[in-house]
């Protein structure tokens, strides 16, 4: 199924202020793959994600989604295929109620009201949030907001799901349920995060990005157990691989 491909070919990007954020990024993600993107702060993770749905356009190089090359004119088409969940759910949820927010994308796709209602209910059921249907976003807890933010994107039935720190600042239980949620999707997934345990649980493949370039690309368990590589990128071994000795000290 070639239409779920996502390819970056020597993508370079320079911000208007002159910062060169991407210096030739290339990778190919095939159908159903789940890929983690890790790297230090400012390495270029978010810039890569913003290219996947055409929020930013490469200064040079090419991004291809399915068979569609990313250009100004094809952005709308690409946004139907690639759903991006932003890091802060308060930025993602801008409508007065949860229902209106989840319905926003499907309505913009021009679906008839019955289908929109169906999509909203399906999406919220998938993230276990049907109970908050009529609430305004500012009355939700952090975990509920994150779940609803994911629902707003899956309601558009994208081929590829892209997420920036999907579980940042969630309590452990909410984080665990977001991980369960991500694993339940058959979509191709791209997840950028500093939460390496989350990447390990969700992604089979992992890219390491440093200074605007991909410096490692391989199976997630292999990359995430390479302590030297991680340390070079301001990262450390996932906690589950660290093996902490049992507590034997005394409290004073």
């Amino acid at each position: 199924m070639s239409h779920h491909l996502l390819e970056f070919k020597d993508v370079r990007f320079r911000y208007p202020d002159g910062t060169e954020a991407l210096k030739g990024v290339s990778f190919l993600i095939t159908h159903g793959e789940s890929v983690g993107i890790v790297g230090a702060n400012g390495a270029g993770k978010s810039t890569v994600l913003l290219h996947t749905n055409g929020h930013l356009l490469p200064t040079s190089g090419a991004v291809t989604v399915g068979e569609v090359p990313l250009r100004k004119e094809t952005r709308q088409e690409i946004r139907r295929k690639v759903g991006v969940v932003f890091q802060n759910p308060d930025d993602q949820l801008f409508m007065p109620t949860v229902f209106d927010d989840v319905a926003f994308g499907p309505l913009n796709l021009g679906l008839p009201p019955d289908r929109v209602r169906e999509r909203v209910h399906d999406a919220l059921r998938q993230v276990n949030s049907l109970a908050v249907l009529d609430k305004p976003p500012h009355h939700l807890s952090g975990g509920e907001k994150s779940a609803v933010a994911i629902a707003t994107v899956i309601a558009m039935k994208p081929d590829i799901l892209v997420m920036d720190e999907p579980a940042a600042s969630l309590d452990p239980k909410s984080r665990r349920s977001v991980i369960g949620l991500l694993n339940s999707f058959a979509h191709s997934k791209i997840v950028a995060s500093h939460d390496l345990d989350l990447i390990l649980d969700v992604c089979a493949r992992c890219l390491v990005i440093r200074d605007g370039a991909i410096i490692a690309d391989g199976p997630a368990p292999e990359i995430l157990s390479d302590a030297t590589l991680l340390a070079e990128n301001n990262l450390e071994l996932p906690l589950t691989l660290q093996g902490r000795p049992a507590w034997r000290g005394t409290c004073r």
Binding site: F94, T97, L107, N108, P137
Partner: protein, 269 residues
């Protein structure tokens, strides 16, 4: 009033609007039209009119009672914004010193009468507006306005104002808290610090606006905020608007208090 207190006031107004009463169930359009009529009629009274305005209090009292809105809460809000009305009218007694008799043997300057008239009109219109929000919810009012023909752009702006007011105030509260924790009671109200805080908030808001716009584009935004709700006007909405309109007309064109007065006199005599 501290920022926290103001915030909890808005939050309470917001929560009240999610109740389910006879008034809450009316169509937003019906309530918007009735409230607008009310405001126009009240403001249309001549400037020395006080007595004829009093029957109009029946409208907010009824809406508040049927909508289960605590009267004390609305009264407090009205008092909180009353300085505006007081400043508008406070010089009337000086500017307008002609004396008028308000009761047999009691005369005051006409300025006091017009001042009282301003205060009554103010209390009436503000309480009606607050009750509209407390019984309709802000998004409901926006939907009503949109369906009454207000341009989509204005309505989108109002909806964003509502959605991000809470986010912005919470952000401001965090910044102010951080300042207070490190200012040890000294200079925490300094103008220079305040100016910087406002600047920080402004920059953060601009950045946030960019991120929100990105999120909107990612989901196919092209200029209008679509809404699924298609409320149909019911007979009860029509009855409400007609009854309210009829009551306003009666009180506007018939001096009700005077009629009641002469009726009572007739009974006594």
């Amino acid at each position: 009033m501290s920022l926290e207190a103001a915030y909890s006031g808005i939050g309470r107004l917001d929560r009240l609007s999610y109740r389910d009463t006879v008034v809450h169930r009316l169509d937003p359009r019906a309530k918007v039209v009735a409230t607008l009529l009310f405001v126009v009629v009240v403001v249309s009274f001549p400037k020395y009119e006080v007595l004829s305005l009093l029957p109009f209090f029946l409208f907010p009292v009824l809406i508040g009672a049927l909508g289960g809105i605590p009267a004390g809460f609305i009264a407090k809000k009205v008092v909180a914004v009353s300085p505006f009305a007081v400043f508008v009218g406070i010089f009337n007694p000086l500017i307008d010193p002609a004396t008028v008799a308000i009761a047999p043997g009691v005369a005051v300057s006409a300025g006091w009468v017009s001042f009282a008239s301003i205060l009554v009109k103010f209390a009436l219109t503000i309480s009606a507006a607050l009750l509209l929000i407390a019984t309709t919810s802000f998004p409901g009012i926006c939907r009503g306005l949109r369906r009454l023909g207000l341009p989509a752009l204005f309505v989108s702006q109002l909806l964003f104002l509502y959605r991000y007011l809470f986010v912005l105030v919470e952000e401001a509260m965090r910044v102010v808290r951080a300042r207070d924790m490190r200012s040890f009671g000294k200079g925490s109200t300094g103008v220079r610090v305040f100016v910087r805080i406002v600047g920080t908030l402004f920059l953060r808001t601009v950045e946030r606006a960019e991120r929100i716009y990105g999120a909107m584009l990612a989901r196919g935004f092209r200029g209008d905020l679509p809404s699924m709700r298609r409320e149909a006007l019911r007979p009860s909405d029509a009855v409400f608007v007609l009854a309210a309109g009829g009551f306003f007309a009666l009180c506007r064109f018939v001096p009700v208090p005077q009629r009641i007065g002469s009726l009572l006199q007739g009974l006594a005599g």
